[in-house]
Symmetry: C2
Subunit: 406 residues, 2 copies
């Protein structure tokens, strides 16, 4: 019942006093800031995680728009169900079945890209001070989604086979985590893939401790080589929330993702989404569904795999050629990213300035750690740059490395 | 550092123990629940707040899709700026200028409908226990958006001239509110409009107490009669956050709204949206922008005003004809809704069951109060029902009223 002080001659609102505590925890994504800097055309950017826009299915999407608006405009332009457009959910059920994931339409919520699924997961699970267990490094968009809910992050490191699951049990004995966040396929930013043996052990340990797993799989379909490994959700259906997206296969600009979880959890996520934005664009869902139902997406994904494989190969070969000794990197079997480790004394946030002078950019490692580690690491994306430009960009980056640390 | 208890023979996660405290405050929107019940074709529903889908600009949207995808597909299907698509923001600037609102592109954030703007406002301002001041009744979607942030609601009642601003000063002397939420035009659910005198007094009191105003104006363009009144934001630009939407003019299924605020606040809202879903669909924004830039929306709105005026007139005349004495209602000058007050002893939640037996539906009053008042009130929407059906629906509702309370 405190009476607000009336300031003499006050003009307007003291915004800083108005903000919620969580607002102080919000930061702009360093990637989106870097993107702004590097939009000058002469800079070669390995910073974004953008799909190759020259392969977008423009004509097919246009045909889908035509079909949807000619036949079902009154539905497509009207309010829809929070849960998502049922035929698109049916497609998602079908698509997931190819990877052994058994789900019904009612186990799915359509979201505005995976980013919204991450936000909704944080919203329903995370109280301020709760422990969230992530890999280190981890996806920075997840940290950005969850920071507003005030978690304390506890991390388990990665190696070339993904999360070092051997360290998980010890951590869970000490820390009561709300969930374990994992990117098992072609990790962002690390590019590594969780081995089958570790997958099995991970779900076993999580079940033993009664902790659920949030499995983030935006890149799973983009495997260039090696065998598909079973998603965690197939190993323990009742204990895993599985997130995926159309952003890396169809279009990120449409903003379409989904989450599969036990019905009980989906019910809560639906309530959370209702308050957040009622539902995802009916029109976009129906257009995407039309593209998918016509069987266009699958061959498109096969093509994208070739495109990204060639770009990865070029990046790996160029790094061999141009990077000085003492630099190491991961060799992803799919996805969009790889992870470079520089000598201990290098600070990649500082080095980025040198690189930008050489007209090349990347994302410095600390963005991917909740605690600012990863000083001497950087993420490179090979997806939205042609092979010729990749070689030139890596040459420039190698030159900057030699100039600074050679 | 509490060690999680290992339950013998535990199977999976105890979800109830996992949820955040805020999750207990989430509820499903009664409107969306009623919509599900009333989707049987024989029920006449005045429950939804849906635009008339037979007037959607299907062909024009299709032409826009064609244009955008033929010319700018690589941009339309790619990631975009969190702030929104600049040409669409320029259109919004232009549109608002017609109502005297002076804003620059940088003062605008494009959102997934107004619902997301409401969520983001709650996200940046509301800590658990903070006071949010609303009208009573108020828009239930706002309550649903904010409940997760744990506010304490304090209300000021409405009459035919909108919020009874005379009561505001006394309330603000007692309560330190984070913001004042107002729907000045064709209020949802009440259908009333805030008078000019009260608008002036409201912004004056808010400035005096250093409290900002959240002005929600989804229906302002849908005025059938009378003169436009100045938006609150034109009376005190630095102290008002102004929300509007394309949902009631172009399409709710696209999910496009916006918020205008001081740059300082827009910066925070952008950070909040980045974590929530990165950005609103680039494709949808570009399609909407194309429709708008071709000057199609303005004449369309003029047509919608005629359509809704006729429906409102039919509803008012039918209520005169069929409703028993002791029932009163508001006479909106625009928008989609009116508000009916039944005799004190009537419980509209119970009465809805009777109405559904008579094959007609509405939304009971308590949904629009944070504290469950409004027992004897109901909201009727006249927007998505043709005049003939409105008359029949009101006849049924009158019959149910006579049957129960006559």
């Amino acid at each position: 019942m405190a009476k607000r002080m009336r300031t003499e001659g006050a003009e307007g609102v003291d915004w800083d006093r108005c903000y919620a505590r969580r607002t102080r925890r919000m930061t702009s994504s360093i990637i989106r800031e870097i993107l702004k800097i590097t939009q000058q055309p002469e800079i070669i950017s390995f910073g974004g995680g953008m799909p190759a826009s020259e392969f977008f299915l423009a004509r097919e999407v246009e045909e889908a728009c035509h079909y949807v608006l000619a036949n079902e405009a009154q539905k497509a332009l009207q309010y829809g169900l929070t849960e998502g457009y049922p035929p698109l959910k049916a497609y998602v059920v079908d698509r997931m079945r190819r990877y052994g994931i058994v789900a019904e339409e009612d186990d799915i919520l359509i979201t505005n890209g995976s980013q919204q699924a991450l936000d909704l997961v944080g919203r329903i699970f995370v109280d301020s001070g709760d422990v969230v267990l992530t890999e280190a490094p981890t996806y920075l968009g997840a940290l950005q989604a969850w920071n507003v809910y005030g978690p304390r992050y506890v991390t388990v490191p990665l190696d070339d086979d993904g999360m070092i699951v051997d360290q998980l049990e010890g951590v869970l004995e000490q820390e009561q985590a709300k969930f374990i966040y994992v990117l098992p396929n072609f990790h962002n930013p690390a590019g590594v893939t969780l081995s089958l043996e570790r997958r099995k052990k991970l779900v076993e340990i999580a079940a033993h401790f009664g902790v659920c797993i949030v499995e983030d799989d935006p890149y799973g379909e983009l495997r260039f080589e090696g065998e598909d490994l079973p998603p965690l959700v197939t190993l323990d259906r009742g204990n895993v929330l599985y997130l995926s997206t159309f952003s890396k296969t169809l279009s990120p600009g449409m903003r379409l993702g989904w989450i599969t979880a036990p019905k009980e959890v989906i019910g809560r996520l639906v309530q959370a989404k209702q308050g957040a934005d009622l539902h995802t664009s009916t029109f976009v869902q129906m257009v995407a569904n039309d593209v998918c139902q016509r069987g266009i997406l699958r061959p498109h994904v096969l093509k994208l795999r070739q495109v990204y494989k060639e770009r990865r190969d070029t990046m790996l070969a160029s790094m061999e050629k141009y990077f000085p000794p003492g630099v190491s990197w991961t060799r992803p079997q799919g996805g969009l990213f790889l992870w470079v480790t520089l000598p201990e004394h290098v600070d990649t946030t500082e080095f980025l300035k040198v690189a930008v002078e050489e007209k090349v950019a990347f994302v410095p490692g600390p963005a991917f750690y909740p605690d600012g580690r990863g000083r001497n690491c950087m993420r490179l994306s090979f997806s939205d740059v042609t092979p010729e430009v990749i070689e030139e960009g890596i040459r420039r980056l190698g030159q900057a490395l030699v100039r600074e640390f050679g």
